[in-house]
């Protein structure tokens, strides 16, 4: 078992024939992901990476029966692409592109919600169910199959966390990179209950960072609904106030969104909070032993 995606998930790629889209779609195909086609306007009818290209998402969905779209279009077109996917009946859009305007994401997410479509990202590594389905840009070989669920705002910390978990002799069910922009799709609040419900996931690693209050919301939810052990790391304990730390949403505004308040909230909810990402693996081992 896993969450959200598995070996049978049919995926299309928006921005299929572009440089980034092509490169990563090929890597995903190599991993075993069922990519059944792609969309690039005016290239409909062509074949790319052995898969059909369509002019619109609507056609692509009608022909292939895809339920997930991986989005690689340039930043200015992300909003449009997400809304197109939502109206075409896609169930989950995974938005990899970095640098989409916040206003566009606000509108696109509201529209997606209206049409019952979930989104992941933007500006994220994507989602991977180990040894079954990779929808994104993460290095697939790090993610060995196992019983730990992972959810993270940061791409490289996802890899760091997964690598440590696997080096400890465990593995990953599904890892979701949710992105660090001011407005993102699925977050801890939606994904933690999915891991709770997944029989194969025995432990959850959650990686957050400064800015916003999604981790605080997660703490509240964990206290009320999550029975599986959770190990957490919050990046940015040493980040200065008022500075954007790489991710557009990683900023401490005034006294809000600090690592300290998030760590305290999670600890109060019974989460094992580590002060350095170097300790994630060991903390998971401890949590698994206690079970």
């Amino acid at each position: 078992m896993s969450i959200l995606v598995n070996k049978d998930t049919k995926v299309i790629v928006q921005g299929f024939t572009g440089k980034e889209g092509s490169f990563h779609a090929e890597q995903c195909l190599d991993y075993g992901t069922k990519i059944v086609g792609g969309v690039t306007p005016n290239k409909g009818g062509q074949t790319h990476l052995g898969q059909p290209v369509f002019n619109t998402v609507k056609e692509a969905v009608a022909t292939t029966g895809a339920t997930v779209s991986m989005i690689f279009v340039p930043p200015a077109f992300v909003g449009d692409a997400v809304m197109e996917a939502a109206e075409a009946g896609i169930e989950l859009a995974v938005i990899i592109t970095e640098g989409a305007p916040v206003k566009d994401m606000q509108a696109a997410k509201a529209h997606a919600t209206k049409h019952g479509m979930m989104t992941i990202g933007p500006n994220c590594p994507g989602i991977i169910t180990a040894e079954e389905c990779k929808i994104g840009i993460m290095p697939g070989m790090i993610f060995k199959k196992g019983n730990v669920g992972l959810i993270s705002k940061s791409g490289t910390l996802t890899y760091e966390g997964a690598n440590q978990v696997c080096n400890e002799g465990f593995g990953i069910t599904t890892a979701v990179g949710i992105g660090g922009d001011p407005i993102i799709g699925l977050s801890y609040k939606q994904i933690l209950p999915m891991f709770e419900a997944d029989p194969d996931t025995e432990c959850i690693v959650m990686i957050g960072e400064i800015g916003g209050d999604l981790e605080i919301q997660a703490a509240k939810l964990i206290k009320e609904q999550i029975t599986k052990p959770v190990v957490a790391f919050i990046a940015g304990q040493t980040a200065p106030k008022g500075k954007t730390m790489g991710h557009a949403g990683a900023i401490v505004s005034g006294s809000a969104g600090t690592a300290k308040e998030k760590m305290e909230a999670l600890e109060a909810a019974g989460v094992t909070v580590v002060v350095s990402p170097a300790e994630i693996g060991a903390a998971v081992t401890k949590a698994m032993a206690k079970k």
Binding site: Q27, P75, A76, G99, A100, P101, V102, K103, D104, Q106, A107, K109, A110, I137, M138, P139, M141, I142, S152, K153, S154, G155, T156, L157, Y159, E160, N163, G180, P182, I183, I207, E209, I210, G212, D213, Q217, F233, A235, G236, Q237, T238, A239, P240, G242, K243, M245, G246, H247, A248, G249, A250, G254, S255, A259, V275, S276, P277, A278, E279
Partner: protein, 390 residues
């Protein structure tokens, strides 16, 4: 991206948000002629820097004669202004805004920001104008009115009524003035991809009119491409020169106070690396994200920027190679040490794809001050020890 008060007021004018008349100048002579042109009898001489708290820092002063304008312009222009929002070193004042004095009856606060929780713009207003809004929020939260506006429906009459009644306005023309102003501000926010607009104070005159006495605006960097007029307002002298230089090479850099230079791929891991160094008793000198495709050129540039800081005693290169193979990065690092004169110990930790090959390459390179870290914890510990001279 942030802009100056005088620029914010240009945009206010375009949208019909009332502001006092004013002129931006860069010399004392021009300050006096600007004051003459405005007519007086009272002027405000205001330092133009990208930071709040200018008044308390001595950067905003009232003049009652042209001579006084001259004296104050002389005093403020070229001064280094330190406020609660600048660094301890402060900011050099290179521009002044000479403005007509206003008839202030009472002071309000009005802003539009993104509410990340509600995922829509939020109008915030208060009768406690001129104060730091964070202090108001902490001490007297009941004095702040907040109204979330769904962009799908835009600013409606009911939003305006909530605002006017929330602020306790009872005079009908005052209510209408406030509602019109807020509606214009919301339009400005949406049409220009603003990140935040703040008017503090927004004053009410004896005639019941509302005027923006100050103006602060920030914009979504990701949307500047479609607003060339606003992108043009960027004042690079207000930004950290090293951050600007780094950005040219696709690097994201923030200077800190410590001794260990950090070069990392990915923003989260970069912050996590700083945290780990701190936890092990060291101090990070900077945040530096070299991006997803670290190569010899970006690594060399990173070394150059880090080494500009004389406090740096060691550099920790922490790369988790994903799609980019570690052996390639290892060669890039060796290449970079040849381009740049690296005179402090460099601790390199490479993990991910082809990590063992990369470690082999680094060991065989025989570079004197290059130390290999086995994992994140080991690398950070070695960096902390190296910075302490061990």
């Amino acid at each position: 991206m942030n802009i100056h008060e005088y620029q914010a007021k240009q945009i206010f004018k375009k949208y019909g948000v009332p502001t006092p008349k004013g002129i931006m100048v860069e010399s004392v002579k021009d300050a006096v002629s600007a004051a003459e042109q405005l007519g007086g009898p009272i002027w405000v001489v205001k330092a133009q820097i990208h930071a709040g708290g200018r008044g308390l820092g001595g950067g905003v002063k009232l003049a009652k004669s042209l001579e006084e304008v001259e004296t104050l312009a002389n005093e403020i222009l070229g001064m280094t202004l330190v406020t609660h929002q600048t660094t301890a070193e402060g900011k050099l004042v290179q521009k002044l805004y000479i403005e007509d004095g206003a008839d202030i009856q009472s002071e309000y606060y009005l802003s539009v920001v993104l509410d990340r929780k509600l995922e829509m713009p939020l109008i915030m207003a208060s009768t406690e104008g001129g104060m730091n809004i964070e202090d108001v929020a902490e001490n007297t939260p009941e004095k702040i009115v907040t109204i979330a506006v769904d962009p799908a429906i835009g600013f409606q009459g009911f939003h305006g009524r909530q605002l006017a009644f929330g602020l306790g306005l009872t005079d009908k023309s005052e209510q209408s003035n406030m509602i019109k102003l807020a509606s214009k501000l919301f339009k400005l926010y949406m049409e220009n991809d603003a990140e935040m607009i703040e008017i503090n104070p927004l004053i009410k005159t004896g005639k019941g009119e509302f005027i923006a006495l100050d103006g602060k605006m920030g914009f979504d960097n990701s949307a500047l491409g479609r607003h060339p007029d606003i992108a043009e307002m960027r004042d690079l002298t207000e930004e950290d020169p090293d951050e600007v230089e780094a950005a040219k090479y696709g690097l994201s850099y923030v200077a800190l106070d410590g001794e260990i230079g950090c070069m990392v791929n990915g923003a989260g891991l970069a912050m996590g690396t700083m945290d780990t160094i701190n936890h092990m008793g060291g101090t990070p000198a900077n945040f530096l994200d070299v991006g997803g495709s670290a190569n010899a050129e970006t690594v060399a540039k990173g070394f150059e920027i880090i080494l500009k800081n004389p406090k740096v005693k060691a550099i920790f290169v922490n790369i988790f190679g994903g799609i980019v193979r570690c052996d390639r990065i290892a060669n890039g690092i060796i290449e970079a040490t040849k381009i740049t004169d690296v005179n402090v110990p460099v601790i390199v930790r490479l993990d991910g794809t082809n990590a063992p090959e990369a470690a082999e390459i680094l060991k065989n390179a025989n570079i004197a001050n290059l130390i290999v870290g086995d994992d994140l914890g080991d690398g950070a510990a070695k960096a902390v020890a190296a910075a302490k001279g061990n």
